[in-house]
Amino acid sequence: MRPPSPSIPEKEFLYTSLKESLRLDGRLPMEIRTPTLIFGDNLGWVECSLGKTRVLAQIEGKMVKPPPERPYEGIITIHSEISPMASSEYEPGRPSDEEVTITRMLDKVLKRSDAVDKESLCILAGQRVWHIRLTLHFLSDAGNMLDCACLAGMVALKHFRRPDVEVIGDEVTLHEPTERAPIPLAIHHTPFCFTFAFFRDPMIPPIIDPSQLEQRLSAGLISIALNAQRELCVLQKLGGVPLDPDEVLKIVTIAVQKAKELNNIVDVRLKEDWEGRHVEVR
């Protein structure tokens, strides 16, 4: 059930204030909401919030037999169905346009970009590999669920520790976390996603991390996923108002800078959490 379109006063107010580079929540046009990361008791359980947008990511790992065409690689699957809990505009069962976009972007950012080394997930070639299942629950939609989901997923992958496995000949022994310390996943690089919204009026500058209203009233979105090493992983501008090539390059430069900042924030939080969890096996 689609929520009603924004009223004319809301629309006019937003456009007028954006022309003066004022956003409704007081942010600068190029300022993202500070992400808050809450880690659960289990390793690989992360709740990420960008303002009021909240996404929960959870990782499970189990050992399975690999498909015959890829016997040396592990399997990573991402499950992200948006339930009406996030917002009444999402219907259960039927993927809306936005849901398809989010699911595909997550797939590209987390799987296609090879963030996690799949070959390290192989236990016994052709027989046993790790199947890492990432489930994302969209708790609340206050705009820009995509960035929140990518961040939650990526941090969960970095947070997760899989049980240690010992292979002797053809025998595979799984060690409990209490016996042997669990091992983190081999992560090649950490992609972060940034979404910019731009508007029909050329006097309005593009803004990063749009809120719900800004997203609804925008004339187009561009999402950039990149890591702190200045490598672009995914770039997506699906239609919307046409942009000058120079503007696109300017946006890419801003995203590069934000990626570095976000990388630092994430590293600091992960370290904090790990200190609190430190368990020594004697």
């Binding site: 993927p95 346009d97 398809v100 976009t101 699911t103 595909r104 797939d107 590209k108 296609r112 970009s113 090879d114 004339a219 187009g220 561009i222 990149l226 200045r230 490598e231 672009l232 992983c233 995914v234 770039l235 997506q236 501008k237 699906l238 239609g239 919307g240 108002v241 046409p242 942009l243 000058d244 090539p245 696109v248 390059l249 890419v252 430069t253 590069v256």
Partner: protein, 265 residues
């Protein structure tokens, strides 16, 4: 696994014999397909795509009508025989849904939808053969089909793919190249040079990206030239067939329907 195919060899030739910046053969067929108001079959090398347009017509789905604009509905069907190995794709396949959503959001700001309130424009895309550059072919074919249907557009939308092989940029990639090297698909509106669609799914360094981005925007203008020629030749053929154009090479011009005065405008 078979032997590795060289993407770009010492002599500067690619695996299909093209040069670095050479585009594949483009064929455009604007003849009428069935009952469609407009249609186009576009081939880029071995990638064949057929697009049929119905509309603007009364909206079939009442709930999706917009009071002041036309609703653009895009459906993409990928034939099971389109790839090397036969694989049936269901309509709900996420990649196909994404393709349809990209085409819809690319053309919504380009079609002058405010001229047809409460109507629907149906775009049916049928992929007959895939050899890389699928989104590129779909967008080019949709533009031509819309022009063929007489639906007013703000400008052409021309798409092209580009990639980078170590440090050498390449244009218009085949499937083999697409699977191997980082690539980007760009759609440009040639009059203003602005970018409407931009997708990249593979890792690429920011500096390399800048290079290929600029190159691809220029390449899209070349495709625009081809599209314009095709549209103009089809139009002149139709106009001659209707008998209202002056015949080339002199002779008496007979104005059968008294619209010679129109030529003064």
């Amino acid at each position: 696994m078979g032997s590795r195919i060289e993407i770009l060899n010492q002599g500067g030739f690619r695996s299909d014999g093209r040069r670095q910046f050479e585009l594949r053969d483009i064929t455009i067929d604007l003849s009428q397909q069935g009952q469609a108001d407009g249609s186009a079959v576009v081939t880029h090398g071995l990638t064949h795509v057929l697009v049929s347009i119905f509309g603007p017509r009364e909206a079939k789905i009442r709930s999706q009508t917009i009071h002041d604009r036309a609703n653009v509905n895009v459906e993409v069907g990928v034939a099971a025989f389109s790839t090397g190995d036969r694989r049936k794709r269901t309509r709900g396949d996420k990649r196909i849904l994404e393709l349809a959503a990209s085409i819809k959001s690319t053309f919504e700001p380009v079609i002058q939808t405010n001229l047809y309130p409460r109507s629907q424009i149906d775009v049916f895309v049928q992929v007959l053969q895939q050899d890389g550059g699928l989104l590129q072919a779909c967008i080019n074919a949709t533009t031509l089909a819309l022009v063929n249907a007489g639906i007013p557009l703000l400008d052409f939308v021309c798409a092209v793919t580009g990639g980078v092989h170590s440090t050498s940029p390449l244009l218009d990639l085949t499937l083999l190249e697409e699977n191997d090297i980082p690539n980007v698909t760009i759609a440009v509106m040639p009059k203003t040079g602005k970018v409407t669609l931009l997708t990249m799914e593979t890792r690429l360094h920011v500096d390399r990206f800048e290079e290929i981005f600029k190159l691809a925007t220029d390449a899209a203008k070349v495709i625009h030239g081809e599209m314009k020629t095709a549209v103009q030749s089809r139009t002149s053929m139709l106009v001659t067939a209707m008998g209202s154009a002056p015949r080339v090479g002199g002779g008496d011009v007979v104005d059968k329907d008294n619209d010679d005065r129109m030529n003064e405008f």
